[in-house]
Structure formats: structure tokens, C-alpha cells
């Protein structure tokens, strides 16, 4: 059993087929980068994995639990960062994190400890009583990442998690993900920042038009694309997607 298993996923929006039998899995402790051009189906895949969308066919499992049939058990293992920095405009940073903590049945002391830890990590300690609606995009992103980290996830599902973050926060984010994955947490990251993915992810999958077109370590993907070791992930990506 792998922490993330996706098998034969099909998802249609009207006549458009966003996913056409997508299959892949992520091993424990991996940082898996999901790449693809706009409209390839990355966000749809991630939303299915966190129970926000129901697939028309196929199965998505988190830690062995089907996200549709065993929704609660599956989502108990997940920390999720959505694509857009959406937030409850009129909750303060602290209230929002307490809300998430309460829904995860974390103890009060644990919640406050986690809030202190992550707000300090991302330089948001001063903003704890600020309304989320008053924060900038980057700050909201940091709060959403803090929420995903604080729920003690076994699986992190993150859609463009570093969008809008300052370099200091990006560094802190990467360090924390590395620390967590070293302890067995699995991370699935969708991103367009190919440089970051190349240096940060342990394995990548490239999807195009709803199917997986390449998968492996960055080196493996490069060799399969016959791009040579000198080629960057960006060049490999453009070659694969352009085929």
C-alpha cells in the first residue's frame, strides 16, 4: 500500500474530459512533483485526492482509504494547500488555525503550540490577530501552508504551495517539507516552478491532456526524453509536452 494511489481516474466537465484514465502512485517519504501545462488536469487530480471532486471513474486512495467511499478516514491523513489563496475573510489568522485544529480534534495545547511554531517559522507571529482578509496573497499562502503542516499529516497535497511566497518563506517551506518527509510524510506538489521542482522533488510525473506521459526521478525523465544530462527539466518538459 502506498500513501497516494491513483488508478484509472476519469473526470469530465460537460463534454471536456479533464482526466482520461490517470494512474500513478507516490511512495512513503517521497516529494513527488506533478507537472503539466495549463489545463492538463493537475488541479483536478489534487482536488479528487482531497475529496473536493468526485471522479467519474477510477479510484483515488490515501493511505489505503478510498477518498470517495471512506472520505473521513482518507482525509484525516491529509494536509492540503489549495491552488488559490482562498480564506475566510473575517477570521483572524489564529482563529482560522484554531478552526482547522478543532476539526482535526487536536488538543488545545497542541494547537497553540503548532500555531506558535508555524507562525514563527513563516514570520507571521505579529499577524496572529489580523483578519485574513487584510493579509497579502503571500501571507495568506503562508497561513494555508501552516494549516496543512499543523494537522500532523501523513500526506501533504499542495497545489502551487509557494506562489506569492517571499524567498525566506520558500526556504523555510522547503526545509520543513524535507524534515517532514524524512519522518515518513509523503508530499505531492503541483507546480509550474520547474527549477524548484528539479532541485526539490525526489520524483516527478508529467501529465498532459489528462494522462501521465512521463514519470520517474528527474534524471530518469531526462534520459527517457533523450534530452541528455545537460538538459534542464524545463527543456525536458517542453519536449515531452510538445510531442
Amino acid at each position: 500500500m502506498r500513501p497516494i494511489e491513483v488508478s484509472g481516474l476519469i473526470k469530465r466537465y460537460g463534454r471536456t474530459e479533464a482526466l482520461r484514465g490517470l494512474t500513478f502512485s507516490v511512495r512513503e517519504g517521497e516529494i513527488y512533483g506533478l507537472l503539466g501545462p495549463n489545463g492538463a488536469g493537475k488541479t483536478t487530480t489534487l482536488k479528487i485526492l482531497v475529496g473536493l471532486l468526485t471522479p467519474d471513474a477510477g479510484v483515488a486512495r490515501i493511505c489505503g482509504h478510498d477518498v470517495v467511499r471512506d472520505r473521513v478516514r482518507a482525509l484525516e491523513a491529509v494536509g492540503y494547500v489549495p491552488e488559490n489563496p482562498v480564506c475566510f475573510q473575517n477570521l483572524t489568522v489564529r482563529e482560522f488555525l484554531e478552526f482547522v485544529g478543532a476539526l482535526r480534534r487536536l488538543g488545545e495545547d497542541d494547537v497553540h503550540e503548532a500555531i506558535d511554531r508555524y507562525l514563527s517559522l513563516f514570520g507571521l507571529s505579529e499577524k496572529r490577530d489580523e483578519l485574513l482578509g487584510n493579509l497579502s496573497r503571500g501571507m495568506i499562502q503562508k497561513v494555508l501552508v501552516s494549516a496543512a503542516f499543523m494537522v500532523r499529516p501523513r500526506v501533504l497535497v499542495m497545489d502551487e504551495p509557494m506562489a506569492g511566497m517571499d524567498p525566506e518563506a520558500q526556504h523555510a517551506f522547503k526545509e520543513e517539507v524535507r524534515r517532514m518527509t524524512s519522518q515518513g510524510v509523503t508530499a505531492l506538489i503541483s507546480s509550474h516552478l520547474l527549477d524548484m521542482v528539479e532541485r526539490f522533488c525526489t520524483r516527478v510525473g508529467i501529465i498532459n491532456e489528462g494522462v501521465l506521459v512521463a514519470e520517474g526521478t528527474v534524471e530518469e525523465v531526462k534520459s527517457r526524453a533523450e534530452s541528455g544530462e545537460e538538459a534542464t527539466l524545463e527543456e525536458v518538459f517542453l519536449r515531452i509536452v510538445g510531442e
Binding site: 475529496g51 482525509l75 488559490n84 482562498v86 475566510f88 473575517n90 477570521l91 482547522v100 476539526l103 494549516a147
Partner: protein
Amino acid sequence: MDARKSLTVAKYLFKNYVLNPFVKRFKTAVLAFLIVCVAAGILAAVAFSLSPSQPEAEANQTGEEPGLGWSIREALLQAGIDKGDAISALGAMFALSLLLMLTVGTAAIRVMEEAEYELLLAQPMELSTYFLGREIAELAQMSLMSLPYFGFLPIAYELSGGNMTKALLFPVTMFTAVAFLSALSTLVNVVRILAEERERLLRLGAAAYYSVGAAHSLLTWQISPLLSLPFKPLAEALVHCVTITEGVREVLIGWGLSVSILLAIEAVTIRLADLVPPEFVRPISELAREARSKGGRKEISLYSPDPGASLFRFAFSLEVLSPVHLRNLAIALAASGVAGLAMLRVGPRFGLELGAASVAVSLVTPLVVAEMAIFLVGSIMARDLAAMWVLRVYALDLVPLASGLLLKYTVYLSEAFLVLGVFESLIVREPLALLQPLVVLPITVFVVLLLLVSTSYLASKRRIVRRMPTGLYMFEDIALLVVALIVVPAYMLATFLFKEVLLPRLTPQTTALVVAASLGLSWLLHEASKKALAGAIRVFDLAS
């Protein structure tokens, strides 16, 4: 279902939508408002208990003036409306709202903020847990919003013949009615979602049932029980609060029955909730965008060598000249015409006085237009101000934009007057009533300026402009109610002056003179307003 998590959801949704934006932000104002409400309530109760209401005959014997309640009662009876009619009409109105819920709009569970879908539903809980929390939060929110219903206490007291218990039950019953309709709307949406491809059959079934009800009404010249019966307990509870013959017991029976049905609706909704796919929980902003993308637009090129002309086309022509808008206007005018003709033919058979109906239209028109004005604020934020930064960066002169916006909303409000005017001109057989939108045009221009300036101000106070048709938080709603307090009396006065003073004296010459003067004044106001609005947008530094 996890009731504890539901309570957590309810607590934080209530915080997000009510406590933090309204109560916490305006602590002193809210406290003062509550104190004033309580004080006014106590004073009213004391005053009423000292001077009980009395029937007209009794009043005549004692030589006193009959109370307001008796005057209203007399007016209703003169219009041929007794309590039975009121119950049937109210029941039919509720039934009509159910028909609309079943047939209009996209089947979805509407949420205010995207986070309610993207963040909340990604948490480990069943949909039933979320639904229970959401319903509790909505009930709490509605109960707070129902406080102004206590303002009806004096009139309910008068109408009920001085029965304070019944008068106190009136706001409670009003709250129950609002909660009932809200819960019903959620259940209907759940059923529509679960019906999937069979939703069309559901709509057809509903349309068939209501058609039979309407046909039965026409055949019997009475509102059919098919239409009024399903909501009779609720209608009875409301009407019996303001009647004399029925006691507190009758009100409590109707109210208790309504509450029981309400709880049953909630229970069924929560029971079915786990079958609802999460993607049907949809932010209003997303639905608004979807509705807009469905509404095809006429191919209007925004390009012009004159930047001002481009801006004007963007603000005015793109929407006002769109086929969807023109089609909707034609449908509304036709529907109003058909309704007017039907009222002319059928109304008297139902015992309705056309004169009374005309008075009712006169009273309702300003309210409808004012309500529409408030609704338009959402549209202004969603359509016109959402990407204001683009215009602030690229447009050197905002006056053409201001001019287009002023003209667009003036046209919209005038169209509302025209639609209602068609109905009225038919039932009073007075074509000149159609001139009202033109005669009140200067007031409309002023109201639109007021709306646009206040909306720009509200929008400038938000970092992220709300992009939803009704996407306003409570404090903004209340700020706009203040605007409505100016708009409603202004239109009421204008309507009164037009109908009572001007209309009886209109000759072809005076008509031409009045219309010309109104148009001239409106143009002058528009010219002054567009500069004022453009200036206000800059002063408020409205950017996104």
C-alpha cells in the same frame, strides 16, 4: 455524522459571517442599537398596556379616534381581502417561491466564500456534518437578522386588538417563515442535485402541478388549495398573529406545526447530504461568473481610437446592448403586460378592487426599485469595479467610465419603473402612467450617483473586492439599508407627486413640457454626476 464537528463548523462560520465583520467591528454601535431596541420595546409595551386598542364602534362611543390597526383592517376589507384570503394568498406566495426554487437557477448549495468549499470540505468530515453546522450557523444568523421584526410589534399589537402575546409571537413567526423558506431552498437544491439527469423531469413535474393549481384557481375563481394548502400552517400562524378572533392557542398550533415541518425538512436535508457530491457546494462568485459566461454578448468591439469611447462601450454598451439584456427586458415587459391584462379581466372576479391594486402598485414600486438598487450594488462590485486597477492603470480619464456606469444603472432602474408602469397603466387604463420613468428620471440619476459613490467607497475599504451578486457582508448590507432609507422616501414622494399631482393635470402640452424639463434636468445632473463620480473613484483610491 459528527455533531461536535458540526458545532465547530457552525461556531466559526458564524464568527466569519456575522460576529467578526459586524458585531466585533461595530461593538459600540451594535450595543447602542440593542439598547435602543430593548428600550423602545419596553416603552412600546408600557404605552400599549396603558392604552389598549379598541374597536371602531367602541371608539365612536367614547368619541376617540379608531387606532391604526382598525384603519388598516378597514382598508383591507374595502379592498375585498379578509383573513381567509390573506391566508390563501400568503400560502400561494410561499408555494410560488417553492416553484421558483424548483425551476430557476443552477442546482447548487450556495456558499458565500470560496474557502467554505476549498478549505472546509477538504477537512475530514462527512457532508452531513458540514450541512448540520452550516444550517445551525444560518439559523443563528437569521435570528440576529430577525431582530428588526420586533419593529412590527406596535402594528401587530394594534391589528391583533391589543393582544401583546400574539404581537410578540409575530416576529417569532416571521423568523420561522424566513428559516422555513431558507431550509426549504437548501432541501430543494439537494433534491435537484440528486435528481441529476432527471432534474428536468422534476422541473416539468413541478410546472405541471402548479399549472393544474393555476387552472383550478381560474375555474373556481379562488386560490386553489393545491397552491395554498402545503404552506397553510405557516400562513395561518402569520395571519393569526394579527387577527382578533383567533387566540394565542391557534397561533401556537400553526407555529408549532411550522416548526415541526421545518425540523423535518432539516432532518431530511442532513440525511440526504452525504449523497451530495462536494463539488455541488459552490461559491456564489463562481456561479455568478458561470451565469455571466452563459449570457451571450453582442459582438461589440471595445476598440476605438478614442479611449473615452472605449471606456464608455465597456461600461455601458457591452451589457445594456447585449442580446440577453434586451431579451430579458422584452420578457419582463411582456409578462407585466400579460399580468396587467389578466388582473383587468380576472381580478374583479376574485373580488379584488383594481383601484386598491393600483394603490398597492404605487406603494410597491418604490420598494421594488429600492430593493433592486441594493441588489445592483452587488452587480456593480462584481462587474464594474472588480478589475478597477486595470482602468486606473490604463485609463487616463475616468469620466467616460463614470458616465457609462451612471447611464447603465439609470437605464436599469428606469426599466424597472417601466415594467411596473406597464402593469399599472393597464389596470387603471391610463397610458400616461407609462411616463413615470421619464418624469422621475432626475431622481433616478441622483439615486444612481448615490449608489455608485457609496459602493465605490465600500469597495475601496476592502482589499479584495467581493465578486458576487449578493456578496456583501452584514455591515455593508446595513450601510446600503441607509441608502435605501433615502431612496425609498425619494421614490415614494416622486410617485405620489406624479400620480396625485401631475397625472390628473396632464394635457399634451404639459406632458411635453414636463418630459422635456425632466430630460433636461436629468442631462444636467448626469453631466455633473459623472465628474463627481470619477473624482470620487480617485479620491477613494479605488484600485481593485
